[in-house]
Symmetry: C2
Subunit: 283 residues, 2 copies
C-alpha cells in the first residue's frame, strides 16, 4: 500500500491507471476504521482492479460544538488494517491542501439536505457533498462505496452524482452490526461497556418496528410512536428524530407500502448516534 | 461535425476519445455565435485533438425579469459556422435532460459571486458554476475555453476548478471588438445602428481610463469618476457599476499598481452591457 499526500500525485496515479484500462474503486473514510469500513474495502477489491481508500476528517461537515476535535484518529492501526486487506493506495491529504485559506466553493442540495439529519446539522451535507466531489475529482474513481449506516448521506451523494452528471457509480454497502445489534460506528469508541449496552436501544427500536409492521401495522405515526416509547425508557437517551421516509426523496410517509426506510438519531449521554433499516413490503 | 443530444452519448464519445490518447477542448456557449466565440473555437482546434462546442441557453443563470426568453437563438446559422471551422462535436442538450424536474444540486462561490455582476444578478454565478461543472462532467475536457469579455465568469470558473480540484485547464481568450471598439456580444443583436453607436461609450470609457493611467493617474476613484462622467453624457445610459479590482480576488483597489482589471456594466436603453480591460503597469 502506497500513501499519497498530494492532490497532483493522486491525480497522476489515477490518470495513469485508467489509461492502462484499470478500474478504480474509492472508499472515502474519516479513518478510525472499523468492521463497517473493512467490509466496504473488501467489496472495493472484488469489483475493481485498484482499491483506493481516503482518510480525511473533513472539518466542513462538522457543525460548531460538534465532535470534530475529539473525533477518533488511529492512523497507525488504520494503515495496518488496510495493508492486510491489500489496499493499493491510501490518499491522506491535509486540511491545508483540501481547504486552502481562500477556499470558497461549496455544493448544496436544496431539498434532500434540509430534512432528517439536515434539520439538526444544517451545513453537514454541504460539507459532505463538497468533500466527496473534491475526492471524486482527485481520485477519479469508476466506483465509490459508502455505508448504508449513513443512509441520508448515501441518498444525497447518489443525487449529487446524478444531478451533476458525475461519471462515477455509487455502491452502498450494508451496515455492519455488533452481536448486540448496535451498528458499528467510529463514535462507539466514545462509550464504555455499560453505555454500549444502552446504545443497543436504537436497533431494538428498529427491530420492534419491523415486528409491528410484519404483524400488519401500516400507520407510520403509530410505528414511530412505538419506537420512541421504547427509546424513552432507556436512561440518558434524547431523540432527535424517528422517521419513516421514501428511500429516494426522503419525504415522510403516512401509510406504509412498497419500499421505505426507518431512520433515527438519538443522543445517548453526550454522544449522538444514528441508525436505519430499509423495509420492502413486497418482498 | 456530429450533433450529440444525450448526456450518456456525449460521455461515451469523450471516454473513448480520451482512451485513444486524444485531448479534448470544450468551448461552452449559449449559441448565437459571433466572432468572439469563433476565435475561441479556432483556438480550441489549435491546442487539442478534438474540439467540442456546447450550445445551451442555461435558464439557471438568468434572473427573474432578465432576457432568458428573448435571448437570441440561431441554431441553423451556428451549425454552418461551426462546420466551417471543423468543430468535431456539437453538444446540444435540452432543458429536460440538464435540469430534470427534481433537480436540486448547485455550486456556489461564497465571495467571488457576491461582487460586481453578482451584486446585480444574485444567482447568476451559481447558475454559471453549476452548468459549467455539469458540462465538464459530461464532456470531460482536458481544456475549456472562455472569453475575457465575461471577466468575472472566467475568474469564478478558474476558482471553482481550483477549489473542487477539477482536472480541467481553463484558457481565457481575448475580447473581440468591432471596429468602433464595441465588444462583440450576442446581446448586440438587440440594437439598431444608432444604439450600437451609443453603446461604444463603454469602450470609450475604458480607453479614457487607459489614457489617464498612462498619464500617471493612480487614484482609482478619480479614474472611475472620469469613466462615469463620460458614460453619463450619452443618452439612454444607466451605470450599474464601474470597478477597478484585483484580477483574482476581485476586491476593489484604491491606489493602482501592478496588474488589475477595469470592468463595468451599463444599461443602454433596455439592454445591459458589460465590458472590461486588463492593465499591467509593469509592462
Amino acid at each position: 500500500m502506497k500513501s499519497i499526500y498530494s492532490i497532483k500525485g493522486m491525480q497522476r496515479i489515477s490518470r495513469r491507471s485508467k489509461s492502462e484500462g484499470m478500474t478504480i474503486a474509492l472508499v472515502p473514510t474519516m479513518g478510525a476504521l472499523h468492521e463497517g469500513h473493512l467490509s466496504l474495502i473488501r467489496h472495493a477489491h472484488k469489483i475493481s482492479h485498484i482499491a483506493i481508500v481516503s482518510i480525511y476528517v473533513n472539518p466542513a461537515q462538522f457543525g460548531p460544538g460538534e465532535d470534530f476535535s475529539k473525533y477518533p484518529r488511529s492512523l497507525g492501526r488504520d494503515k495496518r488494517l488496510m495493508k492486510k486487506l491489500g489496499v493499493d493506495y491510501l490518499f491522506l491529504p491535509t486540511d491545508k491542501i483540501i481547504y486552502p485559506n481562500d477556499y470558497e466553493t461549496f455544493i448544496s442540495l436544496e431539498k434532500l439536505s434540509r430534512v432528517l439529519e439536515g434539520k439538526f446539522r444544517p451545513l453537514h451535507f454541504r460539507g459532505v457533498a463538497t468533500i466527496v466531489a473534491k475526492l471524486f475529482n482527485i481520485v477519479q474513481p469508476d466506483i465509490a462505496i459508502f455505508g448504508q449506516k449513513d443512509f441520508q448521506q448515501s441518498v444525497i451523494i447518489k443525487k449529487m452524482v446524478k444531478d451533476l452528471n458525475m461519471p462515477v457509480k455509487i455502491v452502498v454497502g450494508p451496515t455492519v452490526r455488533e452481536k448486540s445489534g448496535l451498528a458499528i460506528s467510529s463514535r462507539n469508541e466514545y462509550f464504555n461497556a455499560e453505555q454500549k449496552q444502552r446504545a443497543t436501544v436504537l436497533y431494538d427500536g428498529l427491530m420492534l418496528a419491523r415486528r409491528i409492521i410484519s404483524e400488519g401495522e401500516r400507520d407510520a405515526r403509530k410505528i414511530r410512536q412505538a419506537i420512541k416509547r421504547l427509546i424513552n425508557k432507556v436512561s440518558g437517551t434524547r431523540i432527535d428524530y424517528v422517521a419513516i421516509t421514501d428511500n429516494e426523496n426522503l419525504q415522510p410517509l403516512k401509510n406504509l407500502q412498497g419500499k421505505f426506510t426507518i431512520s433515527l438519531a438519538v443522543w445517548l449521554d453526550e454522544v449522538r448516534l444514528i441508525d436505519n433499516i430499509s423495509v420492502d413490503l413486497k418482498e
